[in-house]
């Protein structure tokens, strides 16, 4: 399972993409967020932390099988 990072989350992680092995991959958006906050405590200080699954906003209840395109969306600031 690969996860894409943008904006400030890319800076926090130090990379635009990380991979989870099959045995360790989170199975829902909620568990993905929990795991990321454990690994990168600075994520908990952000104004918001959204997740996109296949380039659509996904709420915490969405389940993941590892074949999706998953992206971490920090607070947006276009315009």
């Amino acid at each position: 399972m690969n996860v894409l990072f943008f904006g400030i989350t890319k800076d926090i992680v130090g990379s635009s993409e990380i991979s989870f092995s099959n045995e360790l991959k989170p199975t829902s958006v909620a568990s993905l967020k929990k795991r990321l906050i454990e690994s990168y405590p600075e994520f908990s200080k952000l104004n918001s932390l959204a997740v996109a699954v296949n380039s659509e906003y996904a709420d915490d209840s969405v389940l993941l099988n590892g074949n999706e395109e998953i992206a971490i969306i920090p607070p947006v600031s276009g315009g």
Binding site: F6, K45, A71, V76, S77, G78, G79
Partner: protein, 138 residues
């Protein structure tokens, strides 16, 4: 084409009129967002924009479709720039054309306000001695 939705390196503000011009439109309204020199009295050297392009285009498409339906518009343009932009450069342009002016004024406001809320584009303010991701922290 009723809608134009794009992420580009440089915004050409001169071409939007031709894109919005329409035989059924008596009103054309355009908003351009540009780089301002000062934020909270601090001098901005440049803004750096990045995007998750596949998702940004999808979200911009949804905003355009909503506006076309809600205000019965004839044409909509939503275009955002990425990369480094210096003071006075345009970074975003949205526009709508409609039979009468009320619809395109209201639609334009909706286009830019919704873009700022939902489209995955991020802006870093570059000052002389530091850089800050806008809106990241409380």
């Amino acid at each position: 084409m009723k809608k134009v939705v794009e992420i580009v390196d440089v915004i050409d503000t001169a071409k939007v009129y031709a894109e919005l011009s329409d035989a059924n439109s008596g009103g054309i309204c355009v908003f351009v967002g540009a780089v301002r020199e000062f934020t909270n009295n601090e001098e901005v050297v440049a803004l750096e924009f990045e995007t998750y392009e596949a998702m940004a285009l999808k979200e911009m498409g949804k905003i355009a479709d909503t506006a076309l339906a809600k205000w019965g518009l004839n044409k909509v343009v939503i275009r955002h720039a990425v990369g480094e932009k210096s003071v006075k450069e345009p970074v975003v342009i949205v526009g709508a054309s409609s039979a009468h002016r009320d619809a395109c004024f209201e639609a334009c406001r909706f286009l830019i306000d919704t873009l700022k809320e939902t489209v995955p584009i991020w802006k870093k303010e570059k000052f002389k001695n530091k850089s800050v991701w806008v809106s990241a922290h409380p």
